[in-house]
Amino acid sequence: MKITRRRLTTLPLAGAAAALLLAGCASEGGSGVQSEKLAMISGRGKLICGVDGKLPGFSFVGPDGTYRGLDVDVCRALAAAVLGDAAKLEFRDLNSSERFAALSSGEIDVLSRNTTTTLSRDASGGNGLSFAPTVFYDGQGVMAPVNSGVRSLKDLAGKPICVETGTTTELNLADRMRELNVAYTPLKFQTGDQTYAAYLGGRCAAVTSDRSQLAGKRTNFPDPAAHALLPDVLSKEPLAPATVNADPAWADAVRWVTYALMQAEELGITKANVAERVAAARANTNQADLRRFLGVEGEFGKQLGLPADFVVKAVAAVGNYGEIFERNVGSGSPLKLERGLNRQWSQGGLLYSPPFR
């Protein structure tokens, strides 16, 4: 009898465990007018944001133990817009191969991790993501030691090149080298740390990634001046925050909070003067555009499922796009990147927020 009884108790237990596991997946499907994700975030009281965590300029932990970077500031703006407090935020460090699984499984609410917008990542038949506006227009570059004599892609014939697996750079490298008909050896690593360790260990003649990432990582090298970016730009890499396709309302909220940061720069609203501008807009009923943008009138916030003053909260937390750029990757940072394509459209760049109307 003993054996039978034990079997009787373990069978339903195993079944129940399996049921619990799959029941979690069951509640994810379906989408109504209201966003499940937004409701979940409000209920939880904090936003969970997927970042790289080890990339200077974009997302890394500073000497004081706090996260900083351009991608991080986008997360902060979102937390401020949705929950009214930029501190109600939790970061998850993800490597390039983990990131999409973490997003589609619902482990993170939004992915703000220097991710390139591509067709197959966007399409429902592909990764099924929904991309917010590009927050950094980048291009793939190649970095090699200055004294190695490598000056262009052709010099890399027959040599090993370090690349992070699961990235668009891996594919672009294969494409460009095929076009040039140059044989090479791709050495793939799972994390950026391993990739750059192998490069610095001298295993690879060059390392390839987004140009901003190369510049960022180089600041951590023992001797940054010994490494130079080749002039070749291998691809377009528009980096953008991403959410899942299944929740369009949440994707809209992320999209328009991102736009708001760009629009704020266009309107000259900064972290320092946002309170002042709100007061001015309250006082002056003729500034209809500004009043709508700052949530003094109209119901933009309500339409997105966000508080009326979400723009004010976001800008007050991290400043406008220009401030975020300069602080993290521009003149105020060790990376010292040019604004380049990331200027406002009115100054010859590609940043163009659609009207808040």
């Binding site: 009898m1 039978t4 339903p12 799959l22 191969s97 592909g126 370090c162 791709p186």
Partner: protein
């Protein structure tokens, strides 16, 4: 399942006829419920049915949710061009070949690591295991040290150590480590071998080593890490096997004038094998599973290719099904071979 021959008091109480009217209606059921042979089967059947229903419900749920998100299983992507390159391959490969070819390249690379690793760790492990019975005290101590260090440090850590600390610290070009027929450089491990014009040694051509046989440092680091780690476990299995042979066998052999090596090889090991083989099985499986850590040292194994594939296609479930079944088949294959071997070395009843 034992059936108690004599019913206990409580059973008698239950079977005692009751005066109420419904007891007669329930009597067939009641007699069934008191039947000690049928009851367990009934309960088991019920639970089994419940389990089947639950599985059916979960599967239906999975299919419904997957189709809602457009992720229902499909294998068409396997025929699409992969678009990525691999660093080393025994089969010809280029980015315009389909995904299944890329996965095959990864599988072959994994099998290569498994097979070479099995041979290497068995040889090294057996030697180390035998050395722990050496009459030389220094050798015995060294062997203990080797085993304790290697089996108590995680495999991943060892792989990363061998790759980043040891192999990437090797010099390149003319400064490379040169042994007769073997050159160890940062760019790879070059071995002498048969070439078109007979036996050929590694040669330095324009600062780049050329040899008939070249292993990448990634492969070399993976193999070194796996062999060193698993051989420590195998050494323990071998030691246990040898220790299981009665002392009398050693004494009998030495009284016949056989020296240590001959005793071990001719008398002890054949008897120890039947204890060693089952233990080896699980170590071999550990080694096969351990190859999936290759991704940490940049070696293009099945897992590494599958991960790239997963990222490019987004077909998580399909890719993982392929991965799971590939490792399962490799491990079951190893098990089957080892079980066959086990039957061969077991004592036969006469």
């Amino acid at each position: 399942m034992e059936v108690s021959p004599s019913p206990s008091d409580s059973d008698l109480a239950r079977t005692r006829p009751q005066p109420s009217w419904w007891s007669s209606m329930l009597s067939p059921l009641q007699s069934l419920s008191t039947n000690r042979r049928a009851l367990p089967w009934l309960v088991q059947g019920g639970v089994g049915l419940l389990l089947l229903l639950m599985i059916a419900f979960l599967l239906a749920n999975l299919v419904r949710n997957l189709s809602a998100t457009g992720l229902l299983l499909t294998w068409r992507w396997l025929g699409q061009p992969a678009g990525f390159d691999v660093s080393e391959s025994l089969l010809p490969f280029s980015p315009d070949l389909p995904y299944w070819r890329a996965l095959l390249v990864g599988l072959v690379n994994t099998l290569r690591a498994v097979i070479v690793g099995l041979i290497g760790s068995t040889l090294l492990g057996t030697l180390v295991g035998m050395a722990s019975f050496s009459s030389n005290a220094l050798l015995r101590r060294l062997v203990r040290l080797y085993v304790e260090i290697n089996r108590n440090i995680p495999l991943l850590l060892q792989l990363v150590f061998w790759y980043f600390v040891v192999f990437l610290a090797l010099p390149n070009g003319s400064a490379a480590l040169q042994l007769p027929g073997v050159v160890l450089a940062k760019s790879g491990l070059y071995l002498a071998g048969a070439a078109a014009h007979g036996w050929q040694l590694p040669t330095l051509v324009n600062g780049v080593w050329q040899a008939p046989l070249r292993l990448s440092v990634e492969f070399a680091a993976l193999l070194t890490g796996l062999i060193v780690h698993i051989s420590a476990f195998i050494a323990e299995v071998v030691r246990g096997g040898i220790a299981s042979v009665p002392r009398g066998q050693w004494e009998a052999a030495s009284s016949l004038g056989l020296h240590w090596w001959a005793t071990l090889r001719r008398i002890i090991l054949p008897q120890a094998l039947r204890v060693i083989v089952p233990g080896l099985n699980s170590q071999y499986i550990n080694l096969a599973k351990g190859t999936s850590l290759a991704v940490a040292v940049g070696y293009t194994d099945l897992y590494s290719v599958a991960e790239t594939t997963l990222n490019q296609t987004g077909r998580a479930i399909e890719v993982y099904l392929i991965l799971l079944s590939a490792y399962l088949i490799i491990d079951l294959g190893i098990s089957a071979v080892m079980n066959g071997l086990n039957r061969l070395v077991q004592l036969r009843e006469r």
